[in-house]
């Protein structure tokens, strides 16, 4: 999700390659349509990456396209179009941007004028999801059918057990796994019907293994960011999220992170940090970024602050750290289901060990300790009730059960630039830096 008007400075060569990769994702879907291949609207973090690739479905990542429109500061006209269709401007602005685009494209019978990167192609199908987070994943594509009534939608359910005090999630995990496998099987049935061909299960298994390998490589590369000085920060991670979110199950994604790993090793050996004089190490502790304002990360850097770690888009763990041996689960759908469930419950056991704790807060504590963090920054995007409720509470709980650490919650949106003030944001960053400095001096 890159491509802002003035390219932001990147710390790594890997991140600098991402805008081209991101653009290619959009162009690939356009070419696929011309070549008669099937294109699907798709969401990130839906565990169906390997399945659609094994079925030769070409993904059109709709959140990515909305993010591109935002980064190019060209989303407002699509948001306004959605509003004219009677969608509230308070709804998810990824969805509003996409729906505004779809409504406009349907009205014109062609791409809206000067559509960023040539536009979002009309899909042959839309693959939604029902999860514990994110209502738009099952509402957006249903709403899009109002403008594309001939395009089928399939919603795959992907739950995980909630964190509760009175029972361990392992007591219920078996029926969760069974259900996820049933849901993924249903998706395959749908895709087989759409494509007229059968799933190649051997190929699916290969892609599942490749994804495991990629998860491990991402984790190992990102662990290198613990180094002082920090060789790569969150500003870059908001670029390197592209292969994590949109290219999983491809050799290209694995190679990207292998290159990043090598590059970070090299930087560490040469003591090359994101900033020459690293003063403050920060945790991006929650919230999706304002895609139109990624230069704010450079502003932090200009103050000697770096982000060695973030919770956002780091939605992988090393497979070998899970408490089940995934290499022993040969059925690809069961394998995907266990990987999904174990990721989302990864911090549950740690939370149980600390009185009054919670997995989300435990994750912050682990990162604060592992990455030697001085302060926590979050971003509250007004239009998203997926990741943003609970940020204030997490910081309050962090201070209650751990320690009083400087924190900042920035406020704007993911797509809607009218919510953003650069002057106000930077004034708040300045004040936060002063707090960090006074804390440092004790």
């Amino acid at each position: 999700m890159t491509g802002e008007r003035k390219p932001r400075a990147h710390a790594t060569e890997a991140a600098a390659k991402v805008p081209r990769m991101s653009r290619e994702l959009t162009l690939r879907a356009q070419r696929a349509k011309q070549e008669g291949k099937l294109v699907a609207y798709t969401f990130i973090a839906c565990a169906y990456d390997e399945i659609i690739r094994a079925m030769d479905i070409v993904p059109m990542w709709t959140e990515n396209y909305a993010g591109i429109c935002a980064a190019k500061r060209d989303a407002q006209r699509f948001l306004e179009k959605a509003e004219a269709e009677n969608f509230s401007r308070s709804l998810c602005t990824y969805a509003l941007c996409g729906l505004g685009f779809d409504a406009w494209r349907a009205e014109l019978g062609e791409m809206p004028p000067d559509a960023p990167w040539g536009g979002q192609v009309k899909p042959d199908m839309m693959l939604g999801s029902g999860q514990m987070v994110c209502d738009p994943r099952n509402k957006w594509y249903q709403a899009a059918q109002h403008y594309m009534p001939d395009v089928p939608v399939y919603v795959v359910e992907l739950p995980w057990p909630p964190y509760e005090a009175d029972y361990d999630y392992r007591e219920v995990q078996d029926y969760y796994i069974k259900y996820i496998v049933q849901q993924l099987s249903g998706l395959i049935g749908f895709l087989e019907k759409q494509t007229g061909k059968k799933m190649d299960w051997d190929r699916l298994s290969e892609l599942v293994d490749l994804t495991d390998k990629t998860w491990n490589m991402i984790w190992e590369a990102y662990e290198l960011r613990k180094a002082i000085p920090c060789p790569m920060d969150t500003g870059d991670a908001m670029n390197t999220m592209v292969p994590i979110a949109f290219m999983m199950g491809t050799q290209e994604a694995y190679d990207f992170f292998k290159d990043l790993y090598d590059e970070l090793q090299h930087k560490i050996a040469n003591r090359e940090g994101v900033v020459p004089d690293e003063k403050y190490r920060l945790l991006w502790g929650g919230g999706l970024p304002a895609w139109f304002a990624l230069n704010d990360f450079n502003y932090f850097n200009s103050k000697g602050a770096v982000f060695p770690v973030e919770t956002t888009y780091r939605n992988v763990e090393a497979i070998y750290n899970f408490d089940v041996d995934l290499t022993r689960i040969s059925h690809p759908l069961e394998h995907i289901a266990w990987r999904w469930l174990k990721y989302w419950t990864y911090w549950y056991d740690r939370a149980k060990k600390r009185p009054g704790s919670h997995p989300d807060v435990e994750r912050l504590i682990q990162y604060i300790e592992d990455y030697r963090i001085d302060g926590v920054v979050m971003h509250e995007a007004f239009s998203c009730r997926t990741w943003h409720p609970g940020l204030i509470w997490q910081l309050n709980l962090l201070k209650k059960i751990y320690r009083d650490i400087p924190s900042l919650i920035l406020e704007s949106d993911i797509v809607d630039i009218s919510s953003y003030s650069e002057a106000d944001t930077r004034a708040r960053i300045d004040a936060f830096i002063e707090t960090l400095e006074s804390t440092r001096r004790g």
Partner: protein, 389 residues
């Protein structure tokens, strides 16, 4: 019966002093379980020996304390409910049950849980889809909930007690439907404001007392003398949860009559019954996942788009017909993703029936009431002039 008040007089007391009966029950040693939304299976809570109590907000109380813990981007109704809880309005609760209804409810579960710090809490992981594997999963989720409540109650929830709870809640729903029948006449025998107050009162008292109260009200209303057919516009209100009469009162105060709804509490929640099944969990799962037609549950398109709209909104169309509705007020809260994404499709469906729609986006606050009044009055004028779209 409260202070020798019966029927609508008792409703008025329960409505104005919401939680009055719950506090009494608490003093008598009963345990109360607070809950949000229509998706908590009350049968299970009642069968465990607890009193379910629906947490409501207050449109006239400014949200203050909630903002120190919960982001203002959350649905204003949920924020108001949480604010009231933090301010002690529900300090009689022993537990809290929250369903995976929508993001604003599900994603704030931990905020509720850690701040209220009640002896019991549970999240019911209701799936969004309603296919067979989802129903099977939901039954397992309900059994997990049942087991959890049994641990808290220190006793087993028998099939007999569940079956009895199913019966008594079905009676409750049947009585509400009977009450709605009294709205079909022209003019209706009971006003929309009276119905709304009744449903709020009922959600704050035990179900058997609610049944008695509803029976009293039905008797009372049936005794009202019928009057000649009126000229007032007959309005249906469609939206998420309305637990305050402000909007309905405003519509009726503007000269119209609210005769039907697709709301919670309201027809959406009360009309579907639980089928009597050998394992009561089967019937309960079917009702909550498949029979309640709310935008939060995804329904698959199986035929043409027109048939899909009929599948999703046909019950609204049926009510328009059955209750001789002349216009629909579509009332949606800001930050409500499940309903907000429905608006173009729902509006176009209702308008395709020849029924005009007024779409209002609001914030769950009395501060907007003047603006709403202007919009409603303009809508009613347009209807009177034969337009309204």
């Amino acid at each position: 019966m409260v202070n020798n008040l019966r029927g609508l007089a008792a409703v008025d007391k329960y409505y104005r002093d919401y939680g009055y009966r719950a506090r009494e029950l608490k003093r008598q040693g009963r345990k109360l379980i607070g809950y949000l939304c229509a998706y908590v299976p009350l049968e299970v809570i009642t069968a465990a020996g607890f009193v379910p109590f629906r947490i409501k907000g207050s449109v006239s109380e400014p949200i203050t304390r909630a903002d120190t813990q919960m982001e203002t981007i959350v649905c204003p109704l949920v924020r108001s409910c949480f604010d009231m809880a933090l301010k002690g309005s529900y300090d009689f609760l022993d537990g809290l049950v929250i369903p995976h209804a929508c993001d604003s409810i599900c994603r704030t579960y931990d905020i509720w849980k850690y701040n209220l710090n009640l002896p019991y809490s549970h999240l019911i992981n209701l799936p969004h889809s309603a296919d067979d594997s989802s129903l099977e999963f939901f039954k397992a989720v309900l059994n997990t909930f049942k087991n959890s409540l049994e641990r808290f109650a220190g006793k087993e929830i028998s099939n007999e007690s569940l079956a009895q709870a199913v019966r008594v809640y079905n009676q409750n729903r049947a009585k509400v439907r009977e009450l709605y029948e009294l709205r079909k006449s022209d003019p209706p025998l009971i006003s929309g404001t009276e119905v709304a107050k009744t449903l709020v009162a009922v959600m704050g008292i035990p179900v058997d007392e609610g049944n008695d109260l509803l029976a009293d009200i039905i008797r009372e209303v049936k005794q009202r003398a019928s009057v000649p057919a009126g000229k007032s516009a007959r309005i249906m209100v469609v939206g998420a949860q309305i637990d305050d009469v402000a909007l309905i009162d405003l519509i009726e105060d503007s000269g119209a009559q609210v005769v039907a709804d697709d709301l919670c509490p309201g027809a959406r929640e009360y009309f579907p019954l639980v089928d009597v099944t050998d394992d009561p969990i089967d019937g309960i799962a079917e009702r909550y996942l498949r029979k309640i037609k709310c935008g939060r549950t995804y329904r698959e398109m199986k035929a043409s788009y027109r048939e899909y709209l009929e599948d999703r909104f046909g019950h609204i169309g049926q009510m328009v017909k059955d209750f001789k509705v002349g216009g629909v007020v579509l009332y949606i809260y800001k930050y409500c993703d499940p309903f907000g994404f429905e608006v173009p499709a729902m509006k176009s469906y209702i308008e395709s029936l020849g029924t005009p729609v007024l779409y209002l986006e609001d914030e769950y606050s009395m501060s907007t009431i003047a603006r709403l009044r202007t919009r409603v009055q303009a809508f009613l004028e347009m209807m009177a002039n034969g337009g309204g779209r």
